[in-house]
Symmetry: C2
Subunit: 228 residues, 2 copies
């Protein structure tokens, strides 16, 4: 991510998007430093979006509430996100990135059942951090039903998750660790469905669908999928 | 549901809630007629809530937008629902009732796999009617994450669905039509999770998770559950 930073020593340049373009004109180092600072400030605002959504719901997110939560002026938020739609789009990308990063950090070297289980647990609300991220994720996913822009992000992520799960299932079949008869892509879609559904149950009814029961349900599902 | 209807021939009575109480005082028939009309008007407003939520999302529901959608005055809506919270609560109950009625109408006499399949398909967005009702249901379910009142309704319904599915699975086990090794309640919770998750995928990404693929996924799940 780069940013327009007008250098006082350089002639004016035409920008495409005020926050998507960098003017690399003679004074490159100055620009890069500013871009980093820009990214830090932007991330702080997206973390405010995240907190508001996790605690109070997506309806409460606005330029005004984000400014209040981050302790900056409304104008400051508008400098980074011109409209509420831009703010929401970036907020959704932010939580996606968070979840993807967590998935990428996993150990993929163990038995396939364990690898699949670790992958699935990234998306399940089994601790405070994941409760927050799944609340935010679900809120955006449902908002996406009425927003083509958000839907595009959601669909892209969903396809990535399904294809990575399908690849793991196919590899598990090659290794003889997963039942040969199942269709990897269909099973991956079912696994994602199980995850989304369990997440909803665990968030809404944590006294009944406890962390223990949620993970037990995932295990029961994996038991059926893996050859014993 | 009953309603306060002040009869001009009767002495004034104290009401508990203006729309929850009926004054049955000498002139019962008059009151009942008015209560029916009251229910009809109230239902029309809840149908407006349903349409707005299905088409534009729950964020768009307000006393004002419901009045506009139903073609009545704001005061008229406020006569039936004093606050937006009351409107949302009744709106959630309305869609729940719709889905429950559909489930009650099913034929429960066939093989257990078919009965279970019919039950599950009530909740899956496989036609225009069910696309609308699942959109509305999901919107309310996610809003319930931040509303204890809505969560109470959601949890109650979820428990009913899980216990009715668990009873069907247990009966299927007795009949030797469902694998003996599985725990009916856990399987019922997994089935509900699968449903919620598939619904989300089908609504968000109907080009990839088509009706055909969604029902195929349910069938694959039922194949694994039922002894062949």
């Amino acid at each position: 991510m780069v940013v327009l930073a007008q250098c006082s020593r350089c002639p004016p340049r035409k920008s495409i998007h005020s926050y998507h373009t960098v003017v690399l004109y003679r004074c490159k180092l100055v620009v890069v430093a500013r871009a980093e600072e820009y990214e830090d400030r932007r991330r702080e605002l997206l973390e405010a979006v995240f907190r508001i959504t996790a605690e109070r719901g997506l309806d409460e997110v606005s330029i005004r509430t984000v400014a209040a939560e981050a302790g900056v002026s409304v104008a400051k938020v508008q400098y980074y996100f011109r409209t509420k739609d831009e703010l929401l789009l970036a907020g959704f990308e932010h939580v996606m990135q968070l979840l993807e990063t967590r998935q990428q950090r996993l150990d993929y070297s163990g038995p396939m059942r364990q690898v699949l289980r670790d992958c699935l647990l990234v998306w399940l609300p089994i601790d405070a951090e994941r409760i927050a991220s799944t609340r935010v994720f679900l809120a955006f996913a449902v908002r996406a039903l009425h927003s083509p822009q958000l839907a595009e992000i959601e669909v892209k992520l969903e396809e990535e998750v399904v294809s990575s799960l399908a690849a793991l299932i196919a590899r598990g079949q090659e290794l003889g660790q997963i039942r040969a008869g199942v269709d990897p892509e269909q099973q991956a879609q079912l696994l994602l469905a199980v995850l989304d559904g369990l997440t909803l149950q665990m968030l809404l009814n944590p006294e009944v669908m406890t962390v223990r029961r949620g993970t037990a349900a995932v295990d029961a599902y994996l038991d059926a999928l893996c050859s014993s």
